[in-house]
């Protein structure tokens, strides 16, 4: 039981009806996913990601090698009860509506009526489909179907979540939400194995990744280790005076390093989130998804801290719209700060702490304040944090999870 998921020289060869024309979809694959880890399986189209996941779940049988999932066989119902699976596309029963769909899967897990009802409402709310829950899912758009697929994978409060390209077809907000969700689930002790070729998504959420090509592992390791540019530093500040910038430049030049100063650009993602949040605030009608970022209360509600968190999270929807503007604004400076080398010199003022993914729930008192003033305060606090030497990467992590925890509808 050392690993949540382990494959041992896993190989899958597809042959045609006559046994000819062999396709080596997966070849001698050794993966180890630890408990409570977000693991990303990357690779170009046809590199064997989906095939690997299918073998983990007993949908395909390995040609050679074996798989261990949660210490057992991935096709065993006992193990299945602890797994949530989102396939490559959301394969749903077209004639059922969203509620019936989730109810059906809930019954397959043998959940009681009450539990089912509670979870279904929580999940519908989470994926933003409460308003359209009585429409047949056959009429859903691709992204809406994807959201139901995701809700379906979470209904049993799984210990291990296997997601095959979870963000395909989702709008940027949905993508963002899923990323937040994944991070939050990881915080709550879940193990997540996802595969994708959207690198930005993987980079944001994964602790470790493996890159497949032609069914073989090409690289594997911690994201932070693989990506960190040890030769560069980056600093983010509020709009400081030109004089201050000059001073900083001087310090940098004294180090014989290059320095560039610009105003950060909004990431398109941030801009999009902001625009939609604005539309939602003005109550523009939509027949699509409209979601809060509330995570379903039942998901690992066993921890004491989570129950407090959930209370905060499930605050009534009324005041949430107030908080969205400050929240989105707050996102901007941090997210966009990454590629700005001019701020790197401030790094000298910081301790060079290792970039570990911190899973603190340290800012909950701030999050519970929904009004604009609190948002402003928080931004100030962040600047303070930066100056007092909190690590950038940890900061960023916390930043996005903050957003989710606060139950902010502005993001959706």
């Amino acid at each position: 039981m050392e690993y949540a998921v382990e494959t041992i020289s896993l190989t899958k060869v597809f042959s045609d009806w006559w046994g000819r024309d062999k396709v080596y979809a997966v070849e001698d694959l050794n993966l180890q996913v630890r408990y409570n880890e977000v693991f990303g399986l990357l690779g170009p189209n046809g590199s064997g990601k989906t095939t690997t996941l299918k073998m983990l779940l007993g949908l395909l049988y390995p040609t050679k090698g074996k798989t261990v999932v949660l210490g057992g066989d991935g096709a065993d119902p006992k193990i299945n009860a602890r797994i949530g699976f989102l396939p490559e596309e959301s394969y749903l029963y077209r004639y059922l509506n969203a509620r019936e769909t989730l109810d059906f899967y809930g019954r397959l897990f043998g959940l009681d009526r009450q539990v089912r009802k509670m979870r279904i409402e929580a999940l519908l709310d989470m994926v933003g489909l409460t308003a359209v829950a009585n429409r047949a899912v056959g009429t859903y758009s691709k992204g809406m179907a994807r959201r139901i697929g995701l809700a379906q994978a979470l209904i049993n409060d799984p210990d291990l979540l296997i997601l095959d390209e979870p963000t395909t077809g989702l709008d940027p907000i949905g993508t963002r939400q899923i990323k937040d969700l994944i991070k939050k689930l990881a915080e709550r002790g879940k193990t997540i194995l996802l595969c994708s070729h959207l690198l930005a998504d993987v980079e944001d959420v994964c602790d470790r990744i493996a890159i497949l090509y032609g069914g073989k592992t090409q690289a594997e390791g911690e994201v932070k280790e693989l990506l960190q540019q040890t030769s560069k530093r980056q600093i983010v500040t509020d709009a400081i005076s030109d004089g201050a910038v000059e001073k900083i430049k001087q310090i940098v030049q004294a180090e014989h390093a290059d320095c560039e100063v610009t105003s950060p650009m909004d990431k398109l993602e941030t801009f999009f989130v902001k625009t939609v949040a604005e539309a939602q605030r003005q109550a523009t009608p939509t027949s699509g998804a409209f979601s809060t970022t509330q995570i379903g209360e039942f998901l690992a509600a066993d921890k004491a801290q989570d129950s407090i968190l959930d209370k905060l999270v499930s605050a009534p929807a009324g005041h949430e719209s107030l908080s969205e503007t400050p929240k989105t604004e707050k996102v901007a400076p941090v997210e966009t700060s990454e590629p700005k080398p001019d701020e790197q010199l401030l790094g000298r003022l910081r301790t060079a702490e290792p970039a570990t993914p911190e899973k603190q729930v340290d800012t909950s008192e701030v999050e519970s304040l929904p009004d604009a003033a609190a948002g402003q305060e928080k931004i100030k606090k962040r600047v303070l944090d930066q100056l007092t030497g909190k690590p950038t990467s940890g900061d960023k992590d916390r930043e996005s999870s903050d957003q989710g925890k606060a139950g902010d509808p502005g993001d959706a």
């Binding site: 009806w17 395909l60 749903l92 019936e100 019954r107 043998g110 049993n156």
Partner: protein, 458 residues
Amino acid sequence: MRSIWAVAVNTIRQALRMKIAAIFVVLLLVLLPVLGFTTTGDGTLKGRLQTFVSYGLSLTSILLCLLTLVASVYTITSDIEQRQIFTVITKPIRRFELLFGKLLGVVLLDAGLLVLFCAIIYGITAYMPSFYAATEAERTEAANEFYTARANLVLPDLDVSKEAAEDYGKLKATGQLAQFYPGFSEKEILDQLTKRRRLEKRAAPAGHELLWEFENVRPLDPGERLFIRFKYDVSVNPPDSYVYSRWLVGDYRQIKYGTPIVTPIYEPPMRKDPIRTFREIEVPADAVAEDGYLAVAFLNVTLNNMVVIFPLEDGLEVLYKADTFTANFIRAALLILLRLIFLACLGILAASFLSFPVAMMFCLAIFVTANFSGFVLESFSYMSDSVYTVYSYTLKWVIWLLPQFDKFNPAKFLVPGRLLSWSLVARVAGLVVCVRGFLMLLLGLLIFSFREIARIVV
């Protein structure tokens, strides 16, 4: 259990919402009443009833059979082709539970629709006399011959194989085989000899009598009537084509052992009946003894001057009302349900390894063969020896595996008002569902359990 039920409910929803069932339901809802008003049969009330029940039940049965095949095959193949199965079997449900759920769903759907349509057919037959303003005579005829469940006792075929073999031996010893049966195989000659011996037992020369004893005769009500239905064959055609006869119906043991007469014995006056035509003798049903014994005696009066033979199969039978029409009708519906259960198992077997169109073709082929299985089996019995041997070790078993729908056609019982006994229903349940259906289901479960679900074969 809960997950099986969830799958069953989902299967029913699929059949209803994907409008698979809808087309059949609409068709039947329109056709049944139309049939009820337009059938005339031979113009009498009984004729109308018989035609309506025959067409109505056959139509319902055939359409539901097709629905069952389509629904059971579709529910599995579509799950695989549209891949919803990926999210289903990765949940804590075993594969056989999934198939059981599908089977349960299809059978429940069938049962529901069957109840609906049978209620319609029953309603129309019950009100037919009023719709049509039948005369009193027609109503009586219908009550006696249609709104009833008459049991029929036929003469058993006696075992004469020994005598036939002896005959054969004699012919062979005297070298007469080739003379009497030129070019016949041994099996054919034996068949003919057997038939001759059997007929002998049913033949009465002038002045002789034949006695048949029946057991287990259980009329519903002793106040009702018994019917002896018979047909004559003769050795030489009488000039006026009529046969004179005397009959005796009752507990013959009282005469044989000289005990006091407790149950009445009926001796109708001398009869005159045309040859090769069905005739009926009517006697009160109290002629049957307490223990269900009844004897029928026939005397070929010397006046006739020829041998009278009761043909094999339908030469003579005793009919009596053994149950009500309603009870019989319910059993007929059950018989249809059993057929549907079998077909659902067949559909699941086919869908466990074939794609939709191929599985449908497979099922339809079997369904059609099962409808003519009697004919198929019979045609094989006319084969030459060598071919027959090959057949009896191979195809015979395959065909045996098919249920004989034609033999257990419910209309065959309801139209002539014949009793469809519980024991027959139980036999069909055992043979068709428990043995054949279960075998198919088991095979389907096995294949499905080991199948690589996500494997795409082009």
